[in-house]
Symmetry: C2
Subunit: 106 residues, 2 copies
DNA sequence: TTATTAGTTTACAAATATATGAACTAATAA
DNA sequence: TTATTAGTTCATATATTTGTAAACTAATAA
């Protein structure tokens, strides 16, 4: 497998994270699995839209899905997803703080 | 700041990671800063394209830029970016391994 | 059998991201 | 002053992603 192919697959995993609704879903699934309708209730919006985003995340390899008698359960494929997401959140918070500091000193 | 706004900003940071060329740039900058022309030499392609991708990454807050007499130096804004990127790479590698195992048992 | 539940899939329009090449800018060199 | 270097910015065509609504599917209930 060429490094170009690795970069492409790696970017696909990162893309699975790169949408506000998908970030919200990761937040919801952080400590435990949830079924589709619970996620929908928490995020709001159309079920078709949520279903498509969950599909992007599952194909990207950051979510797992488990079919149950009455509903479909989604969970993070790995603890690493939550950790990476938390690190990116820290990068955001650090930048917001830096920005605020800069404004204060003007 | 509403949680919706946080999710949007958080997604912007993640988007800054979500492209093969940008993943390659993070790999290049992992241990030390590089100037624009060195990055261009390593990645290939058009300078205008690289410049725009570096701009996306800088605006997203994952890169810093430092202007020098003869060239512009780029570096990761934080060690956290490299860590998050490495975690996502691990998620990819774990998934590829799982997939390979599944194929072996068919 | 027919209806209901719990989603998924499809079709498509609108929005966004990307690649390319040309034009531009700022700093230094000749 | 006129080049040259080292990029950045702009214009634009293409490609990809996203949101919406309707149609579909599978499993259970009446």
């Amino acid at each position: 497998m060429s490094s170009r192919e690795i970069f492409e697959l790696h970017a696909d995993v990162c893309k699975a994270l790169a949408h506000p609704l998908r970030i919200e879903v990761i937040d919801i699934l952080r400590e435990k699995e949830h079924c589709f309708s619970d996620i929908l209730e928490k995020t709001g919006g159309l079920k078709s839209n949520l279903s498509q985003h969950l599909s992007v995340m599952t194909k990207g390899g950051i979510l797992k899905m488990r079919r149950d008698a009455q509903c479909n359960y989604y969970s993070l494929s790995s603890e690493k997803v939550a950790k990476a997401c938390a690190l990116m959140r820290e990068v955001l918070v650090d930048n917001l703080k830096k920005h605020k500091e800069m404004l204060k000193h003007i």
